[in-house]
Structures are given as C-alpha cells and as structure tokens.
C-alpha cells in the first residue's frame, strides 16, 4: 500500500516551493519522467498561486491541500482549498500584441495549466473546492 501522498500548508506563498518539492520528490520515488514532474510542478504552482492570492480574499487565511494519486497510466493532482470557489476555464495563449503593448491579457497561469495537463476539472462540496489535474504517463 502506498504512503498517503498528501501535504497541507497554510495558503501562503511559501507553500509553493514546498509543493513543488513534494511533487519532485514523489515523482522521483515513483520513477516518473523529469518532464512530467516539471509540468506537474508548474501546473500546481499556477493553481496554488491563484488560491493563495485570490481564494481567501476578505476571509481569514486558510489552508491548501495537495494530494497526489499516482496510477499506472496517469497521475492525478488534487488541490483542495476552503476559500471562494473559482472554476477555471480554458484560455487561449496570451495575445502577443497585448504583451508588447502592456495591455492586460488573459494571463499565463490558466493557459499553462491547460497546456501541461491532460484533464482539468473542478468541483465544490462540503469539504471544500477541489481542482483535479490529471497528467497521462
């Protein structure tokens, strides 16, 4: 039976490096390729940053939980928070012309998540907001 691959931290920016380290270490132990590990770290980082910066606005700072669920053909990351729900939507690449003219763009964060993951889903229940990110192996 696998160890419980769950880590919980206060929803503060310091959690980002901890989560990335947790993913890197777990992937290494599981023999998951470095490319996949990197993409998981990037997607987690972008999603967790959104929660940390916006999820608890106007509320007492809460926590954010990362759970890794490795399978034979895919690995799933489950990010859970208890702040304001924020359902992600797939976005286009940021418009280069906007980047060149300092105009607001759709941002890189969501775009990176959808570019790096094979499936993105989101649901809210009595146990919090859950972002489910799946990467094929």
């Amino acid at each position: 039976m696998r160890d419980n691959l769950i880590i919980t931290r206060a929803a503060e920016l310091d959690a980002l490096a901890v989560f990335r380290g947790f993913i890197a270490q777990t992937c290494k132990q599981l023999g998951i390729a470095d490319d996949v590990s990197f993409q998981l770290q990037l997607a987690c980082d972008e999603a967790a940053t959104n929660v940390i910066q916006h999820g608890y606005e106007g509320m007492n700072p809460g926590s954010i939980m990362l759970e890794l669920q490795p399978g034979p053909k895919k690995i799933t990351m489950l990010l859970t928070d208890f702040g304001h729900p924020f359902e992600p939507v797939e976005t286009e690449a940021p418009d280069v012309d906007a980047l060149l003219n300092d105009r607001p763009t759709t941002g890189f964060g969501l775009y990176f998540i959808y570019q790096t993951m094979n499936d993105v889903s989101y649901f809210t229940d009595e146990r919090g907001n859950h972002l489910v990110l799946t990467k094929n192996l």
Binding site: A17, Q41, D45, I52, L99
Partner: protein
C-alpha cells in the same frame, strides 16, 4: 533568490542582471524591483542572466514582460515594433536573456515571450547583440 549586477561593454554599455534561484510568485517582485531600479538609474540595455534559475512560473514571465515594456517605453517607437512583428524579425533591442535552462526555456516558449525576447547562450555573443 539572489541578484547580482555587473556591466559589460559592447557597442553599448550592457547591464547584466544575474538571477540565482527560482523565479515564482514569491520572488518575482524582488527581481522586478531591481530591474526597475536599474532602469530608473539609467540602464537602457539589460541582459538577464537566467543560467542559475532552475524554475520559472508565470510570475517570472510577467516580470520579464513588464521589464520589456519599461525599456521599450523609453527607447522604441510603435511603428518599428509593428513592422518587425509583421516581418517576423522583431526582437527587443534593449532586453535580452542569457542561458536559460531547458525547462525555463520551455516556459518562455509556451508563453510566447521568446517571439520578441532574444535568447542567447553565450555572454559575449549576448553583449555583442545589443
């Protein structure tokens, strides 16, 4: 993250901002503020050395884009940029990147910043490109 600044003399004086450590939401503002300080202090041509940056998230990219626009605002006109973009020949003449690691390079490509930021692998070559 640690920052260090050196200067190189090419055709023009080039300020080199060496970044050591991850560029993410935790650190990007320190990086951005240092670049802003350099630019307000007179830097017109900036080379960002990414050789010791193992990881960069969208926060680092936003900082680079912001720095690009600061340098452009001081030195470039819209017509030149638009023409170069249409021709596919435009790269920022005032902000260039040095030696990003493969994963950071992947992130730069995914964002599209590599379309207008010149990426060089060698310091002398990078300085000569300004």
């Amino acid at each position: 993250m640690e920052l260090a600044v050196t200067t190189e003399q090419g055709r023009v004086p080039v300020t080199v901002l060496h970044v050591k450590g991850n560029l993410d939401s935790t650190t990007f503002l320190t990086f951005q503020n240092e670049a802003e300080k350099l630019i307000s202090g007179g830097t017109q041509d900036l080379l960002v050395d990414l050789n010791e940056v193992p990881y960069m998230s969208s926060a680092g990219l936003r900082a680079l884009n912001h720095i690009y626009n600061l340098l452009r605002a001081k030195n470039e006109d819209q017509a030149t940029v638009t023409k170069g973009l249409v021709n596919g020949t435009y790269k920022s003449p005032h902000l260039k990147l040095l030696a990003p690691r493969p994963r950071v390079k992947d992130t730069l490509k995914m964002s599209g910043l590599d379309m207008f930021l010149d990426i060089r692998s060698d310091l002398k070559d990078a300085v000569a490109a300004f």
